[in-house]
Amino acid sequence: MSARTIAVPVSGAGLRMAALLLLIVVYTLYSTGPFVWVAAMSLRTTTEIAANPYGMPWPAHFEKFASAWFDSNYDTYFLNSVTIVLSAVALLTIIGGMAAHCFARYRFRFKSALYFLIFSTIIFPPQVTVIGLFQIMVDYGLYNTRVGLVLVYVSIQLPITIYILEAFFARIPKDLFEAARIDGYSEWSIFWRISLPVAMPAIATTVILNTILLWNEFLYAVVLITEDDKRTLPLGVLRFLGDQLEDVGMIATGLMIAIVPVVLIYVFFSERLIQGMTAGAVK
């Protein structure tokens, strides 16, 4: 605030602006540099990369994408990832939303105990519970099935989804619900037509979070799925991570295939996120 003297307003502000821009440029390089590097490598062969890791993708080997897609079963992995992640995220949003709404709106016995119980399990290291989970999946006949993986994904992301949504639902003014009740809304339509739309920003957050985390999920995908036809993309990348030779070029290509859809979803969603927030801003 001391810079706010009248004598040098232009140069002071200009300097600060320049420093700010410099910081922004540096941080942008830090955050995107690795990504740009991978993108460049995805178009180069491993031999080229070994010769010069920082070369330009020239000539660009677009055929590597085709080869990853068709020869390495990527089309199957991709489709599996899309179906499994989309189903899980949709289920999560509805089931988690219902539970969060319930925790935020109603009073009932053992509410805080129940909430605490659900929330506390996200703390457990999955590396250990996976064994118990496996036994249960076998008992239910869900082992090595896509449906099973979807349900497991729902279960692992459920607490965090409820946690985020509950915090948001709880901040919606009570009057809104009282008014709706007087207008004759059923409990379900209060949830469906008031809670959910008003909570759009929080829902967008959980959708983005869940999509990204599940799209990249690895441990359960390895342990619960044994057949190649049912595997998901994170395992696809691993195909190139051989013991034999780290096929840097193909890993980069596989990575780009896995990452581009998520970037697109994000680009799309981040716009919606802003819109949703301005439209649904709670006054």
Partner: protein, 421 residues
């Protein structure tokens, strides 16, 4: 019951099973080696041949990387599930301890298997694994770079201070003396130290040392051996980046870029190095030699080295098709198959094979490997295969990693290893 089973297995094994196809049966097999084409082809072709010979039988193989395979197996077996046949290595005694794998003693034709390989898979009264892959620890030499540095690393190895001098000379020439990398494996950094140790102590005392027997890490001979290894390390033997180099990269470091004079590696070296150059293989016209490596002064057994049984197949104790599974393994236990394995993979096998039968362009390498093992006596398994639990963990962190990277010295190694048992 067991008798009829055995008879059934023998009938199948002998290929007498000309009787009309019984019913459709599916054998499942989970294996490592997902990206080792030659091994995949070997097992797949054996499977197809077995299916041909046994109508109605199909063999379904899932190929994994090692890490995911072990995770999947551990969960599946704990739940009483899992494939009929799976990949295992002989150090995984937990399978036998818990009765998860079938005793194959009476089910396989062991006449075609090397006696030492049977011994490695022996547990209590049974024999549990079909030893497909075996390997020795070798010191590979890049002849062109050795000449450039003006040193000679002969087949019989280099004794005592002469080896340290050679390392110094190579380093002074601006060349890395020994390529190595420990970023993704718990054992390669320890090759140098444990080969010196086994030569210094001899097979029995060495085993006693690893297994926590009478020979302790505080033994003066152990200190001498470690001091010798430390001299080699301090002479600049390893690349400064040893901790971040992976096993596959170490190969490439040795033969292509930047190049090193030596590489201590399992004799599975060809599975990577004999691929085409753009798949990470050694360059065309690469001149390779194999040496006995550094031999410590006062060695109890200068010809001692390590042989390890690697990838093997075991039969799930919970399998409903145990006899059929054993029969399939038996179909691979023939000298012909042994030679086929050698020729395709250029790494030893527990199946009795005859390398002299092999002709063609790879014969020269196999002869070289044989020459390097002339008159050798072996300890079975590298240390991480002979140790369990805490000693194994401490060994991995110290002798495999921190010691060759120069982070810790001889005293710390002795202290930490001594405290680990």
């Amino acid at each position: 019951m067991t008798l009829s089973r055995t008879v059934g297995a023998l009938a199948l094994a002998a290929g007498v099973c000309a009787a009309p196809a019984v019913q459709a049966q599916e054998l499942t097999l989970w294996s490592h080696w997902a990206d080792q084409t030659a091994k995949v082809e070997f097992v797949e072709s054996a499977a197809r041949a077995f299916e041909q010979a046994n109508p109605g039988v199909t063999i379904k193989i899932n190929w994994y990387q090692k890490e995911p395979l072990y995770a999947a197996l551990k969960t599946a077996l704990t739940a009483g599930q899992g494939p009929d046949i799976f990949y295992a290595e002989p150090n995984q005694t937990e399978y036998m301890e818990n009765g998860l794998v079938l005793d194959l003693k009476s089910k396989l034709d062991w006449n075609n298997i090397e006696p030492w390989a049977i011994k490695v898979w022996g547990y209590e009264d049974g024999v549990y694994g079909f030893p497909l892959e075996a390997w020795t620890v070798e010191t590979y030499v890049n002849l062109a770079l050795a000449e450039k540095a003006g040193v000679e690393i002969p087949v019989e190895g280099v004794e005592g201070a002469a080896f340290v001098d050679a390392v110094k000379k190579i380093a002074a020439a601006g060349i890395t003396p020994m390529a190595q990398g420990v970023a993704d494996r718990p054992y390669p950094g320890a090759f140098l130290t444990h080969e010196i140790l086994v030569k210094k102590l001899g097979v029995d005392d060495y085993a006693s040392l690893l297994k926590g027997g009478d020979v302790k890490w505080t033994d003066p001979r152990v200190r001498e051996a470690l001091d010798y290894a430390k001299q080699i390390i301090d002479a600049g033997a390893f690349p400064p980046s040893i901790s971040s180099i992976k096993l596959g990269e170490a190969h490439r470091y040795f033969h292509t870029s930047p190049g090193a004079v030596m590489l201590q590696m399992g004799s599975f070296y060809p599975s990577r190095a004999f691929a085409s150059p753009d798949e990470g293989g050694q360059p065309k016209d690469f001149r390779l030699s194999i040496s006995n490596g550094p031999v410590p002064e006062g060695a109890a057994c200068p010809k001692c080295k390590t042989i390890a049984v690697g990838g093997s197949f075991v039969v799930n104790a919970a399998s409903e098709h145990a006899d059929l599974a054993a029969a399939f393994l038996n179909s691979m236990a023939t000298p012909e198959m042994g030679n086929k394995w050698l020729e395709a993979n250029l790494v030893q096998t527990g199946i009795k094979a005859d390398p002299s039968q092999i002709t063609g362009d790879k014969a020269a390498y196999l002869q070289m490997l044989q020459a390097a093992n002339e008159g050798a006596s072996y300890t079975f398994g590298i240390p991480v295969q002979q140790m369990q639990g805490n000693p194994r963990e401490v060994f991995t962190q110290t002798v495999n990693q921190a010691f060759p990277s120069g982070i810790i010295g001889v005293d710390e190694v002795i202290d930490m290893m001594n405290g680990a048992y």
